[in-house]
Symmetry: C2
């Protein structure tokens, strides 16, 4: 009557994060949504990494399924679609910024100014709040039509 050992695939928070962020394209899409104010398919396609159209469609669907994005018609134009970050995605901001701070330190060709890491180190909450405000600005402008 030994208790069934299930393969330990649930429960580990790192593994949970890896399931979402442990994919280059999902990771970069989150950057585009959270940091660069991108919301449409066309904007995502325009990112310098050059994601291909089928992969983009696949990852947008994945991120929607995972509760990171919501897919809504563009109020400005019915033929267009917007992907908005959910609260779950916005709450990922501190982790994303943490990774940027780390990368800024170790990527010798980084574009990010040293002041970025410094300001986050001095006032993490303020830095995050600033990005949240930017997200609100973009989304409110869009939803207003």
């Amino acid at each position: 009557m030994a208790k069934q050992e299930k393969p330990d695939w649930n429960g580990c928070p790192t593994r949970y994060a890896a399931g979402i962020v442990g994919d280059k394209w999902c990771f970069l899409l989150l950057r585009d949504v959270l940091l660069h104010g991108k919301r449409t398919y066309r904007e995502f396609l325009g990112s310098p990494e050059g994601i291909s159209t089928n992969i983009l469609a696949n990852r947008l669907a994945k991120l929607e399924t995972l509760g990171m994005l919501t897919r809504e018609p563009d109020p400005r134009k019915a033929s267009s679609v917007c992907y908005f970050p959910t609260k779950k995605a916005r709450d990922f901001l501190p982790a994303l910024i943490s990774m940027m701070v780390w990368a800024t330190r170790y990527d010798e060709v980084t574009e990010a100014p040293a002041s970025f890491a410094k300001s986050f180190g001095e006032d993490p909450k303020g830095t995050i709040a600033w990005y949240e405000t930017e997200i609100d600005r973009v989304d409110q402008a869009l939803r207003a039509g």
Copy 2:
């Protein structure tokens, strides 16, 4: 005489991070090294996600190339090998913990106790210092032979 536009593949810190962490297996190996004190091939193989041997070898080499791990003979046994986290890897701890805090909030079957996120929220530096101490303990014990 237009200046050559290079495809903007360098410089973005998020992209730099994505190049390392935007891979499920690298991500989980960093967890094993930084959080679970694993150092040998055999220990990594034992993780519940079940990485296969060729992929493990490939990712260990990748992480070594990226300066996240150093490969050294095991002082206890010359036929064995240890992978130690570099400073660059250790400096990734805050980001990793940030992601765990986020995952703990959104993974409804998380194993992590609520107290974990709470203690990190109240004293992030202390939490990170605690993990650093653990890493030192493991590595010093190993290197002592």
